[in-house]
């Protein structure tokens, strides 16, 4: 939160905080600020579905703070905005989704034209398989009593980015009284104008938010410093389903190195290898896959941990990526998704840098 953050109170007669947020989003449609709103909604209570709504009534179950996520919405948004939107759409995302979206914009897979970008504070998420399946009641509980760190997905425990980095607006939630008025932070001129159109009034910064966020971030950094990232011992149960790659918001290559002819071997080659090595375990190249995927995308990894959530065999990839991305991005003084302007690490270079690598 910068010195010139402006916070607004949005008046709503809805009884709960998530409902007030949903009301706010519905007003965007009612007041004609946007033609559609993309936001997680409790279509059923098992898990929220990322929904594109044009009817305000459809937003009744919208919940930007749901403590569970099926996937990182950034790749869905890339799908939606790839050719650029011709109509104004409000897009509601949590921090890791916004950061992944920024990376995808820089990778030319998504566009922000005509997007009203709304971030939401993240209360953390639990694994889908551990989610009680009671919809917005879970969000209300998480707002009343912060989710214990141990119950969160590994990536969330290691997340030091609970607040979205930029955008037009941020719907606040961390450290807030769940009975309080909806607090929305204006992050841009467009955001400010939108809040004024909706008759929101300026208000003081929410008292405990910064403190709550700082504490969560400190805990995450402390955990990252002691997390074991030894990958070798974990790959024994990798089945090479490629779920981690397929669900990763950053992995966008229509033809992945691993399913290309570069690794297309003939039966004779397999037999020769088996003969030379004594035996050949299938599928081959598991360690190669993981290390290469890491080399190919970790510069833009936002640590959302969906790779781990997607793994059918519970390999804690999210934990490893969340820690290693910090180490790699630090090499280039970069943080994935921190800014739209900051160039991708592999697209720039300096004449004098990284001398520790040159031998």
């Amino acid at each position: 939160m910068s010195a010139d953050s402006v916070f607004y109170k949005f008046p709503s007669d809805k009884p709960s905080y998530p409902e007030k947020a949903a009301d706010f989003l519905a007003s965007l449609l009612i007041k004609g600020v946007v033609e559609a709103v993309a936001v997680p909604c409790w279509i059923n209570n098992a898990a929220p579905a990322y929904t594109l709504a044009t009817d305000p009534a459809a937003l009744a179950t919208a919940d930007p703070f749901a403590p569970v996520m099926l996937r990182n919405a950034a790749d869905l948004l890339a799908e939606l905005t790839r050719q650029g939107l011709s109509r104004k759409v409000a897009v509601v995302v949590r921090s890791c989704e916004m950061r992944a979206l920024f990376e995808l914009v820089k990778l030319r897979q998504a566009r922000l034209d005509n997007v009203l970008l709304i971030g939401a504070d993240c209360l953390g998420t639990v694994p889908v398989t551990a989610f009680p399946g009671d919809g917005v009641a879970a969000t209300l509980r998480a707002m009343a009593t912060p989710l214990p760190a141990g119950s969160l997905r590994n990536a969330c425990q290691l997340c030091a980015n609970r607040v979205p980095p930029a955008g037009d607006l941020t719907i606040c939630a961390l450290g807030l009284d769940p009975k309080a008025d909806l607090i929305v932070e204006a992050k841009s001129e467009q955001g400010k104008k939108t809040l004024e159109t909706l008759a929101a009034t300026e208000t003081a910064a929410p008292a405990k938010r910064q403190e709550t966020v700082d504490q969560l971030h400190q805990q995450a950094e402390a955990l990252a410093a002691v997390t074991d990232t030894n990958l070798l011992s974990l790959l024994g149960r990798c089945a090479r389903c490629y779920n981690c790659r397929d669900m990763c918001p950053i992995c966008y290559c229509p033809e992945c190195f691993f399913t290309s002819q570069k690794l297309g071997y003939s039966s004779d080659r397999y037999l020769e290898w088996a003969k030379r090595k004594g035996s050949l375990a299938f599928p081959t190249d598991t360690l190669l896959f993981h290390l290469t995927r890491m080399n190919h995308m970790i510069a833009s990894c936002v640590g959302c941990g969906i790779c781990e959530s997607a793994c059918p065999n519970d390999i804690p990839l999210g934990k490893i990526y969340a820690v290693l991305r910090r180490q790699v991005q630090k090499l280039y003084d970069y943080e994935a998704g921190r800014s739209l302007e900051e160039p991708l690490p592999m697209s720039v270079f300096f004449e004098k840098e990284l001398h520790q690598v040159e031998e």
């Binding site: 011992s233 081959t284 080399n295 290693l324 180490q327 790699v328 270079f349």
Partner: protein, 147 residues
């Protein structure tokens, strides 16, 4: 049992380091036969995947040779290579592999002597480090990498 002789794969860029290696050859400079050279047009064309693959398939060391910064035949390929190798070494260290098995050095076309010395230096280093643990039977049993 024969003493351990490392297997080194060297990815050399056509215009500088490969030419340097060639000069070592024409000047009859002796360097270890442990080195197997793969020629690329530019060090910047080397996808880290190939360095990883060499290590995973049993290479004990991987050397990457490029033009000196500022001298790349394609202007900036070596700068990209430097960024990629920095990333690769950080990842290797992070996941429990040995980044010292990868070496990046700039060797120009006129530096035949430097090439020979570098190969000697790197081979000696890898010989001291020992065989690549990824091909040890114990590690193989833990993962799918076969011995």
């Amino acid at each position: 049992m024969a003493p351990f002789e490392p297997k080194i794969i060297a990815f050399l860029c056509n215009w500088c380091s490969y030419a340097g290696a060639d000069l070592a050859g024409t000047a009859r400079l002796q360097y270890p036969t442990n080195v197997r050279i793969v020629r690329l047009m530019c060090s910047g064309a080397l996808d880290s995947a190939y360095v990883v693959r060499a290590l995973v398939e049993g290479a004990d060391g991987v050397f990457v040779g490029g033009c000196h910064p500022g001298d790349c035949h394609y202007l900036n390929g070596n700068f990209k290579a430097r960024r990629r190798i920095a990333m690769l070494e950080t990842i290797l260290a992070g996941v429990g592999l040995q980044p010292e098995r990868v070496m990046l050095r700039w060797i120009s076309a006129s530096e035949g002597q430097k090439f020979a010395q570098t190969m000697q230096e790197f081979t000696d280093r890898i010989r001291t480090m020992g065989k690549n643990p990824l091909t040890a039977k114990a590690t193989a049993a833990a993962m799918e990498v076969s011995a």
